[in-house]
Symmetry: C2
Subunit: 322 residues, 2 copies
Amino acid sequence: MKTKVGIVGYGNLGRGVEKVLQYHDDLELVGIFTRRDPDSLDTASRAYHMDALEKKTNDIDVLILCGGSATDIPETAHMYAKNFSTVDCYDNHRDMPNHFKRMNEAATGGENVSIIGTGWDPGVFSVQKLYSEALLPNGESYTFWGPGLSQGHSDAVRRLDGVKLAAQYTMPSSEMIKEIEDGRDVSYDKFSSHHRVVYVVLEEGADADIVRESIITMPDYFEPYETEVHFISESEYNKNHTQLRHGGHVIRRGYTGDNTHTYKTTLDLDSNPEFTASVAVACARAAKRFMDARQFGAKSIFDIPPMYLLNESRESLIERLL
Amino acid sequence: MKTKVGIVGYGNLGRGVEKVLQYHDDLELVGIFTRRDPDSLDTASRAYHMDALEKKTNDIDVLILCGGSATDIPETAHMYAKNFSTVDCYDNHRDMPNHFKRMNEAATGGENVSIIGTGWDPGVFSVQKLYSEALLPNGESYTFWGPGLSQGHSDAVRRLDGVKLAAQYTMPSSEMIKEIEDGRDVSYDKFSSHHRVVYVVLEEGADADIVRESIITMPDYFEPYETEVHFISESEYNKNHTQLRHGGHVIRRGYTGDNTHTYKTTLDLDSNPEFTASVAVACARAAKRFMDARQFGAKSIFDIPPMYLLNESRESLIERLL
């Protein structure tokens, strides 16, 4: 029997999940749930108003929560987790421990499973950091993002008063990456290794200085990164800033005595939301496995036995991939 | 309380495990068990004859089996698994399903845990193939090995008349890797994706042309690979070719509609046995976690929740790495 998946929210991420589900034969899309008029969605899938969700608890195995991280997920995710198993792509790293607590309480109470913080960062990058630290405990880790558009950061800017459209680019220090690859010492920290560039289309009559100040002082998202803000026209935005490309590197350099070992993971993604959606969809399968094992509560990618992510038996995986 | 680890066998891998254990505060080396005279081992650790092992079942949590894959592991590993939880680095991919069955029967019967096929290939490469397939189900995977020293090929060259010393390196095709990353079509197969480079120290008076011809025409080992042969001095050999360097790349190129995503893992290892040992040691910690959860039987890296590999709480991992 197929695992029945629902999508909550139909922005870039929700559309990505809908698209990616076609590549998973064992997963079935039950419907898209939206706060908008469901008939207004440009989709061939079944769409429902959010209010229909409460009658669907028996028809859905896993809800993939595709709302934004700025407000949607922290304010609403735990309410869904009471009645449904969920997967989310919450990306506020600093709030993750609180999010885990909220979701764990709700999911445990409802005998559901909530897999939090899926995607590639958090998600793939997080688990690669864990593996490389575990396998090379004596060493240093480096993470580089981009160049690429950050959905979470663009979304946070878009929610500010006076902002009509926004695109935020994370730019890695290519000099520092080369220094690490050459085996040199670097003074790496999260902030010195990257800067942020934001392109903003203002609402008519909005004050550019106020918007700029609101952006560069936004805690966690921008402060204390070096941030450039550029104000552009809507036509320039549409011409140059609608690509959703992203990626980056997780690098661990570790030592056993005098020997150096490098473990590096690189993602190069044409579409950030579609790859994020891909990870969420594989995690929906894992959520169903945890449900079947009655291991309720909140989980992260750190808890997921990798084989839970594929629809294939242990024997076949050993024969084919080990 | 520390997890108590025993080492069976004291070749390159056993010495690697002994060295790596110093980087894991929660693991403790109980002793090295050998078929040789234990006093003959060049080690500061406690060494015992293998016969002492039967009296140590209560003193050891996990045995790391460091015997060779040609005969030691397939012939003896299941006997240890009856009385001890084990980790092995068995690397005969084709025999892995049989090895799993043998180990699963023995470990389940003895209420032990046996983690099989750890290291980097099988091991890290295997789990990276699994993740990248799960996250990009619509795509193709490519594996490249090296630059790395192949002991078997070096030995084959060393047996030729006129050869005093030899080091054979497997080299991945960097052109093909770039073609994959650039999104171009490639005709990947075992032979076109790699070439071989041999460094030879000749015996006095040996004919270089004859030796070169004997190498490049050696069936299976070299023919039909593209092979380069370099003749060097003994001092250059000792300076540059006694390292057990290895590594490689696992690359998955996947598609969501028209969008292409690349997931690449690269290992660059100064010492093949020491990194292999590092993976085995982290898996010994995981074996203890499975034991504590009374989840007996054989496991592979596909079964291991990543957080089992680190000595850190879920809460701390979420805060620090998610």
